[in-house]
């Protein structure tokens, strides 16, 4: 059975505590670089955005409940659906997964923090600032109103002269910085910050998912940042990247946006599929079936995912030969997804399910995944997509993908890891009520929506005439949306109650196999008293799985207690390589995020003074950040040389 940091003498633990603890007071609150604190902040902040986006959705659903309603003006409607998309896709779906990964990675991998703790804090603060920036114009009735993919020339100055689109363009560039630094941190953390023996064939699948998503983001985000920069120049400096009268091309925007947008969609689901692949086996009392196949499927989904962006542009008049290629590539993506689905079903089939709330979310997720998957296959068919695209069929599809494949695992994942994060269990009874409301509400809202689409209701219309014959379906969807919202509300109530009164969890309440469950709940600031030595994918089940011959060593290992230290390993085999000196609390990331906000405020206001001040502040903070030190702190000579 598992073991514990308690084996460490009290004096050593106290010393590690002193070394790793976040400073008390405001300084510590702003300056913490603890990945666990940052992870939880990511989760909480993205849930705030989930609620905002959810409220926007409910208002939209009221407007669409019946034909020809006038609850909203067309302009209000356009801002609400645009902000709903922007919020859910950019400010909830990826950040919430970053929250899980930030919290879990070091604990799963056997490290004391992420590779770049300050960069980690920076990516969080930038995310908050960019989120606030994107919402800055909302109270003034001038929020982005061009939809989340914001096609030009509808978004050009000529047709949308207000500040709405400038906020969108700058906001996405701003958020892109956060995503980029966060992704770089994940990539380096995976390559370097693991326990010895945590070789690539032993990584949890969520690590594969987030790693894949992060590498993809590094390639994908520049495309949208570039597109937004060009749009901002078109709008504010008279450039003509997309302006036909100046020789520009509106379709250029669509290519750049979807080169980013499609891989991004996979970035929103691969880590959450990883959550299921890692947590479902715990409730099936057996390891995941086909680990290697699922890991390879994760990576190959993304590789193919970079070659399908044109399937968002099937009706733009691109020659059919090219379309056929993109159509076929889109069909191919179904293969790795099928591998994952059969692996999950096989895991349940050959396992012995334990009907706890997380299992309910994860097992129903599989069916939602399949529904979202097959409707995706239908839209991948060029010819059929000429009918389906831009109708509610696509809206139904993307909600099965984003709610089914992202939100379901997230809710299940929170039930699952809540005990680790807080030391308390979530309430099962309340959890089951919330689960059934979410499942029923979601399907009631979005399953009929496929038919709304097949009956020809176009997307993004603020109202529809009665003779379209879709009033009943829309009313059903609206009712379902409110049931879903009730479920989410109950879930949050459960979180609040459990925080205050939840049963004591202990280190491993689910008897789970992975490394994060070997440490106390909540984990100490230093995570591991000693850096463990890993011998299998299931360190805590080794005593019960006969085919694992070597045993992981969790009680003895590198102590690394001189200042903040963790172990750096070789990328593939996780051989100990160097000792990494880690930074402590610092307000530099916060200061840098504020400076960048000032800079973006200046760009938005087109104020040379504000922008200049922001630039200066950025330079000053970066200088402090990179100031030379008396001794090289980051690394010490290798251990075995």
């Amino acid at each position: 059975m598992a073991t514990k940091a308690e084996h460490l003498p009290q004096a050593e633990r106290a010393k590690l505590d002193r070394t790793w603890e976040t400073a008390p007071g405001l300084f510590g609150w702003v300056g913490t670089v603890d990945h666990k604190v940052i992870g939880i902040r990511y989760l909480v902040t993205s849930f705030v955005f989930l609620l905002l986006g959810g409220i926007e959705a409910l208002v939209i659903r009221i407007q669409l409940a019946q034909p020809d309603l006038h609850v909203l003006t067309p302009e209000q409607y356009n801002q609400l659906f645009s902000m709903h998309g922007v919020t859910m896709i950019f400010l909830y779906a990826l950040p919430v997964l970053s929250g899980f990964s930030n919290y879990l990675w070091p604990l799963m991998l056997g490290a004391r923090d992420m590779a770049f703790p300050r960069l980690n804090a920076l990516s969080y603060w930038l995310f908050v600032c960019a989120g606030l920036f994107l919402y800055a114009s909302f109270p003034f009735g001038a929020a982005p109103d061009g939809g989340w993919f914001n096609y030009v020339p509808n978004a050009a100055r000529t047709y949308d002269p207000g500040p709405n689109i400038d906020i969108f363009a700058l906001g996405l560039i701003f958020l892109g910085i956060s995503t980029t630094v966060g992704s770089a941190n994940f990539v380096v953390t995976l390559l370097r910050c693991r326990a010895p023996g945590m070789s690539v064939n032993r990584l949890p699948i969520i690590v594969w998912g987030t790693f894949t998503a992060s590498v993809a983001n590094l390639f994908a985000v520049p495309a949208v940042s570039l597109a937004c920069a060009e749009l901002w120049l078109d709008r504010n400096a008279g450039a003509h990247f997309f302006e036909v009268s100046g020789g520009g091309q509106p379709l250029l925007w669509q290519h750049l946006f979807w080169m980013f947008g499609h891989p991004w969609v996979y970035a929103l689901v691969l880590p959450s599929m990883g959550i299921v692949s890692d947590a479902l086996p715990t409730f099936c009392r057996r390891p995941l079936v086909g680990y290697t196949a699922v890991a390879i499927a994760t990576v190959s989904t993304m590789i193919v995912g970079f070659g399908v962006w044109v399937h968002h542009m099937f009706a733009t008049g691109i020659p059919v030969l090219a379309l056929s290629y993109f159509s076929a590539a889109s069909f191919v993506i179904a293969i790795p997804s099928a591998i994952a689905v059969f692996s999950w079903i096989a895991t349940i089939w050959t396992g012995r399910p334990v009907f706890k709330v997380p299992f309910l979310y994860f097992s129903s997720f599989i069916l939602m995944f399949v529904i979202g998957g097959v409707s995706g296959v239908m839209t991948a068919s060029v010819a059929l997509d000429w009918q389906l695209t831009d109708t509610y069929f696509v809206v139904a599809h993307l909600h099965y993908v984003l709610i089914g494949i992202n939100l379901f695992p997230v809710l299940g994942g929170i039930h699952y890891w809540f005990p680790k994060m807080t030391g308390r269990m979530m309430d099962e009874r309340l959890g089951k009520w919330a689960f059934w409301l979410v499942l029923i509400g979601f399907n009631l809202a979005f399953f009929p929506m496929h038919f709304t689409g097949l009956m020809g209701m176009p997307r993004r219309v603020y109202t529809y005439p009665a003779e379209m014959g879709v009033g009943g379906l829309n009313l059903t969807t609206t009712i379902g949306a409110f049931v879903l919202a009730l479920g989410i509300l109950l879930f949050l109530t459960n979180v609040a109650r459990s925080l205050a009164r939840g049963a004591d969890a202990g280190p491993n309440p689910w008897d789970a196999p992975t490394l994060e469950w070997s440490v106390p709940s909540p984990p100490p600031p230093y995570n591991f008293g000693v850096i463990p030595l890993i011998a299998s994918r299931h360190p805590l089940w080794e005593d019960r799985l006969e085919d694992i011959e070597d045993a992981s060593v969790l009680e003895r290992g590198f102590l690394l207690d001189e200042d903040r230290e963790t172990l750096g390993v070789t990328p593939l085999d996780a051989e100990p390589d160097v000792i990494l000196k880690m930074p402590g609390d610092t307000i530099l990331p916060f200061a840098l995020a504020l400076s960048i906000s000032l800079l973006f405020g200046g760009l938005f206001a087109k104020s040379i003074w504000l922008g200049g001040a922001g630039t200066l502040a950025v330079l000053v903070v970066l200088t402090l950040w990179f100031r030379p030190r008396a001794e090289p702190l980051q690394e010490r000579p290798a251990l075995y040389e």
Binding site: T73, E75, Y151, N154, V244, Q249, P250, C284, R285, R286, P287, V289, G290, A315, G317, L323, S324, F331, A334, I335, I339, V341, F342, S343, W349, T350, G351, R352, I366, L367, V370, V374, V377, M378, S381, V382, A383, L384, Q387, I440, N443, L444, P448, L454, M455, G456, P458, R459, V461, E467, M468, G469, V470, G472, D511, H538, W541, L545, D547, I548
Partner: protein
Amino acid sequence: MTRRRSLLAACTGLLPGACAQAPLDYLHGDGIQARSLAQLAWGLGIISLLVVFVIAVALIAAIVRRREAGGKHALAVRRDVGGMRWIYVGLAVSLPALLAMTVWTLLTIGAVAAPPTPPSLTIAVTGERWFWAVRYLDPHDPSGSFTTANQIVIPTGQPVRLLLSSSDVIHSFWVPRLGGKMDMIPGKTNIHWIQADHPGLYRGQCAEFCGLQHAKMAFAVLAMTPADFARWRALQLSNDLRQPLPPATIEAGLRVFASHCAACHAIRGTGAGGIVGPDLSHFGARTTIAAGSLPNTRANLAYWIGHTQQVKPGAEMPPVALTPRESSDLSALLEAL
């Protein structure tokens, strides 16, 4: 799970009935293109539902099947093996299904990408915020070309070539019962075709978000027998009224039009030649007002002219204040065109 299945049954059961009243439904097409697409939609849709059904059954079976009990800390297996057969069999079943869907798709693309016979009629349709400018082109005789708006009349039984473009933002041309979508992109002309086999009125709708009144950017395609179409075309090229009106009313109506409307709208054969708004020549022959916003009746027309921003907030046409007399003369004229 039973709940979902019964919902499914309810929806599929309701569908044919509901679709009869849904003018934009594309599960029932007319003409070779829309029919091929509808077949593909049914085919892939049924395969998809089957997949969902099979997976749901497998999943439920996996969850509920009986197993021997074990202690709290017992695992279900002693070794990390087993279950791979699910993946092999699953792939063996899914791959042929995917391949079949891909081939069906490619065959359908082949069938509908180009019309079966070269079209003899070419119509240029330009999307504008938020209406459709329609120009019938006669390559042999420029005087045979004419412009209309928001209603496209086509002869049945033959493909019609469409040259699609936009004068402002991106729109998308879509008549679900006659064919798939094609975007209308400024600076670019996309070539598309439609065909109706039966006379009738087919609703069209802008399918790319184009701003405030994207919702109310609809149009109609009126398919007529070739003989009727020839008569309609001759009417369009003439300056005759469809209904006789007293000369005084005509004169009064034209006076109102000239002073309030002509800066933006055109009527062939009169001095009115505005190009900002829809061409109103033979407006009376159209089924709707303001790109599908209202049925074309005199009362609706008078209301629209005075209340453009209530009917279609954000539309470029300002409300026009007319005296009751002016309003009556104007609508009498327009409806008689």
